[in-house]
């Protein structure tokens, strides 16, 4: 008997439940109700976001697999391809930071090796509340340790990422994990159930009661006492996943796999439904054959468990022994739990009795899709205006405060806990504009960057998001790489509030516009909504990770001035734009103004130019101007201990030139003999132990003292 209370507890609206009744033509069983609940959750169905995501450009000459599979795949030439995706694990990480973050890494790794790719790099984008909030420090410790614990054990280098802090994340941290792998372009595996009679195999960890309804939890906002959701957080075992990775890749060398999919959110249910949907087939699962780790589990629990480190395989009939042989070798469990059928139904049996029977097309095709109401927030106009502020009276002090600020200070404390070298392919690790990882036995390197300036997006979701894309592309140019694809992780508040939906829609439009302008396809991604606590939404945070390709040798570039006597020039005009800047936020406590405008034509030309200069070896440093503007960018280049004397480029106010965050600006350092080739506005020469920029004159030691120890002192 299904009561309205049970329907509500499963997160289904009365209208959605009516669709369930119409679809089945009868009352669902309890397992069926659970299945509809998770499959139609925001997390699995993208019901609020799908119509907007359709605006993103997802095709291109390099795209082999776009959104909809476990991860996107982009052709790199010479028979190999990059397979990547980013995914959120926000809610679990707030409830139980170590396991929440660890299983986020585990999940994204499975998404990538499911496709037949061997993972080669991880990144993480993290957002926490302000430092002064009593929970923040513990969350940082737990999340960083969880990422380290899982990624390090798996032996996949964590080569980059970014971390920012803001009061809007006080009650809702963000943990977005990115993974990229390398796959032979003609050996990509898909999550499909095809071939009537082919057996379905369950491999990996046994099923327990952990994580039941995780997907439903991830589709709700937090209220006081949200920590009580702890049993819905899964527990990860990276050792087991390492074995699973090796066993799956070994099995993939043969020809026995028809389809393969990891059991992530909504576990066995969503993996089997999605595989049947893609294969246009049906499936029958014998739930009593599922390996279980807890006694007396019910079909309902087995279907909804989110136990980690599990995969579902469809195997060519007659090749079952091959599966058992390889999984035995790795001491892993493999069990035959069903078969592919042709009746278009998703059926579950329990000791011979049918406990669920749902038409696959109905389960996926009649999933709700909402064009939720949007409304520009009434506060939007007000925050776009900057109140009158005086010219900065002590720019040196302002620079030091910026360098010591929560977002801009040195995050070595974090990335030192991540093994960023295992695999022996890390040519450029954390600390530069983008990381570079070699693809062994080729002349290729992949470049990686992850970023999102939530303040810019908050002030103008369209321009702010477009700005993230151009900045990421600029970061790649600074290491000589060209973007080949983008994955996103769109973190927003409650979509049932019109102002959040307005932010979301504008942000996706901005991303789509920028990706089209720069020819960067969006090949995979994830949406995380309901990031609110007690009615307060996070800053809109459409995180992106962009993958770039560099063919040929790694350019000899440095994140700091490598020697004295180099000239430094600014490519692009003098900055002046203070709207949305770190300067306004840190020095004046103002999150105001419009984010810097984006000019795609100029960006394209600049990125081409920077790429050529970096690849040809004409420049020794190339550093993008972003948070904190020209002064912070120059200071960051001094962190190796070598300073320089620079004049202010001609532009607007001194404050604007020092701290403005305009797009389309790159600093380069080069041997004076290269001056003609480099061009730009010459600012000065490196050397000495002071950084002089017009009116700013600071000892390099003071810059380092402000920047380097701040985070580790706070974190402890």
């Amino acid at each position: 008997m299904i009561t309205p209370e049970m329907v509500a507890e499963h997160g289904l609206s009365p209208e959605e439940y009516q669709v369930v009744l119409d679809t089945l033509g009868r009352t669902p069983t309890l397992p069926e109700l659970g299945v509809f609940s998770v499959m139609w959750s925001e997390h699995c169905s993208y019901k609020s976001s799908r119509i907007h995501l359709a605006k993103l450009p997802t095709t291109g000459p390099r795209v082999l697999v776009g959104p909809g599979e476990n991860a996107g795949v982009v052709d790199l030439g010479d028979g190999i391809a990059a397979c990547f995706k980013m995914e959120s694990h926000n809610h679990p990480s707030y409830i139980e930071p170590y396991q929440g973050a660890a299983t986020g890494v585990g999940g994204i790794l499975r998404d990538v090796f499911t496709m037949g790719a061997r993972p080669m790099a991880l990144m993480d984008s993290l957002r926490f509340g302000r430092w002064a909030h009593p929970k923040t420090r513990n969350l940082v410790h737990g999340v960083v340790a969880g990422i380290a614990g899982y990624g390090n054990c798996m032996g996949i280098p964590t080569i980059g990422g970014e971390t920012r802090f803001h009061p809007s994340y006080d009650g809702n941290c963000l943990v977005n994990a990115f993974c990229c792998g390398i796959v032979d372009a003609d050996r990509i595996f898909l999550g499909t159930a095809a071939g009537v009679g082919n057996p379905i195999f369950y491999v990996g960890s046994s099923t327990g009661r952990d994580g039941i309804h995780g997907a439903t939890m991830a589709s709700d906002t937090f209220e006081e006492g949200g920590e009580d959701n702890r049993p819905t957080v899964q527990v990860g075992d990276p050792f087991y996943e390492k074995l699973l990775l090796e066993a799956c890749l070994e099995l993939m060398e043969g020809d026995c796999i028809v389809g393969i999919q990891d059991m992530g959110a909504a576990g066995l249910t969503s993996s089997s439904v999605e595989m049947a949907d893609r294969g246009g087939s049906g499936v029958r699962l014998d739930l009593d054959q599922v390996p279980m780790r807890a006694p007396d589990m019910t079909p309902y629990e087995i279907l909804l468990s989110e136990s980690q480190e599990r995969m579902l395989l469809v195997i060519q009939e007659g090749k079952e022994e091959e599966v058992f042989r390889i999984f035995d070798k790795w001491d892993l469990t493999a069990a035959r739990i069903g078969e592919v059928t042709d009746d278009g139904h998703w059926r579950c049996h329990w000791h011979g009795e049918e406990v669920a029977a749902i038409p696959v097309a109905k389960l996926t095709g009649s999933a709700p899709r909402y064009d939720r109401p949007q409304e520009r927030p009434d506060w939007q106009d007000a925050v776009q205006v900057i109140p009158e502020i005086p010219e900065e009276s002590d720019p040196a002090r302002a620079l030091l405060r910026l360098l010591a600020s929560e977002d801009l200070c040195d995050k070595r404390w974090i990335w030192r806990q991540y093994d960023h070298q295992v695999g022996t392919d890390t040519a450029v690790g954390p600390g530069l504009d983008a990381a570079l990882v070699r693809v062994k036995n080729t002349n290729k390197h992949l470049a990686f960057v992850a970023d999102c300036n939530g303040r810019h997006v908050y002030l103008d979701p369209h321009t702010g998001t477009a700005g993230q894309v151009v900045e990421a592309d600029r970061n790649l140019a600074c290491v000589g790489a060209e973007a080949v694809g983008l994955t996103d992780c769109l973190n927003f508040g409650n979509p049932e509030r019109p102002e959040i939906m307005w932010q979301f829609a504008r942000s996706v439009e901005g991303m789509a516009e920028a990706c089209r302008a720069l020819d960067i396809p969006v090949v995979s991604g994830n949406v995380s909504l309901y990031n609110e606590s007690d009615g307060v939404a996070i800053l809109p945070t459409p995180g992106i990770a962009v993958v770039g390709l560099l063919e040929g040798p790694v350019p000899d570039i440095s994140g700091c001035f490598p020697s004295a006597g180099l000239e430094v020039a600014l490519l692009g005009d003098a900055p002046s734009h203070l709207g949305g800047s770190a300067y306004l936020a840190v020095i004046h406590g103002l999150e105001r103004g419009l984010p810097p405008p984006v000019d795609y034509e100029r960006e394209r030309a600049l990125h081409d130019r920077v790429r050529k200069l970096v690849r040809s070896g004409a420049v020794r440093c190339a550093h993008d101007l972003s948070d904190g503007g020209l002064s912070v960018a120059l200071a960051e280049l001094c962190m190796g201990g070598i300073g320089g004397r620079f004049t202010l480029p001609q532009g607007g106010s001194t404050t604007g030139v020092l701290f403005g965050e305009d797009h389309g600006r790159v600093l380069v350092a080069y041997n004076p003999a290269q001056r003609e080739q480099v061009g730009g506005t010459r600012l000065g020469i490196t050397g000495g132990d002071r950084l002089v920029i017009g009116p700013v004159d600071v000892a390099v030691d003071a810059l380092i003292a402000a920047w380097q120890p701040t985070f580790s002192t706070w974190a402890g």
Binding site: G155, F239, D419, Q421, V422, T424
Partner: protein, 222 residues
């Protein structure tokens, strides 16, 4: 061509890196050895890689010492065969008793991945004769349990017998006793160290200070 066995335990994750570094060395050829093997093929040396063998459950290296293959590796070492353990491999060597002491959690209680500067000292070993003693070497570390400990008598004996082979310069980041990064057994054929020489064998990815470990082995075997 000398053949060098690189053991893969469940959870090893530097085994491929180590085979790559061996194959990168002229005159050496890597052979993958599976932890369930009960006998070794004809080998000239055995290397135990880094990683998290058996998930580091119970204690790093504590379960790996009971792997079927370790029985053979211990016998190989006792016959005088060159054996090198890196990171988790070093931990396994101390657990088997081929090397003294133990590796406990870093004093800062955090995983550390960073470059360290090492001095090479002590007796000559098959893995270190080509390494310069004129300057410090830059190797990376990446571990949670690299804090070498032993009782004072053992430490004195290690120092006195020239069994301290690698030492951190400028202080051990993990709290290791007497800044010890790597040691050998009394006859010098078994060496263990926490830093990763296999990560510094190419200029384009981190440097070349680790090359000497592998060329030393090649020289010792030829």
């Amino acid at each position: 061509m000398a053949t060098v066995g690189v053991v893969t335990f469940p959870g090893s994750n530097c085994d491929a890196d180590l085979r790559y570094a061996v194959d990168h060395t002229e005159g050496l050829e890597a052979v993958a050895i599976w932890h369930k093997q009960t006998e070794l093929p004809e080998l000239d040396a055995v290397l135990l890689p880094g990683g998290f063998s058996y998930g580091d459950y119970l204690r790093c290296g504590a379960i790996a010492q009971f792997s079927p293959v370790m029985h053979e590796v211990v016998a190989f070492a006792k016959r005088g065969g060159p054996v090198l353990g890196i990171c988790n491999g070093f931990q396994i060597l101390t657990e088997t008793g081929l090397l003294p002491g133990a590796l406990i959690r870093n004093s800062g209680l955090k995983f550390l991945c960073q470059d360290v500067h090492l001095s090479v000292e002590g007796r000559p070993t098959p893995f270190t004769t080509d390494l310069t003693r004129d300057r410090s070497l830059r190797f990376p570390i990446a571990h949670m349990e690299g804090n070498f400990v032993a009782d004072e008598d053992t430490l004195d004996r290690l120092e006195g017998e020239g069994q301290v082979i690698f030492r951190y310069e400028g202080g051990a980041p993990n709290g290791a006793s007497r800044d010890i990064a790597g040691i050998s057994n009394t006859s010098g054929n078994v060496v263990g160290l926490m830093p990763h020489p296999e990560r510094v064998v190419e200029a384009c990815v981190g440097g070349t200070d680790g090359v000497g470990v592998f060329t030393s082995l090649q020289r010792a075997l030829s």
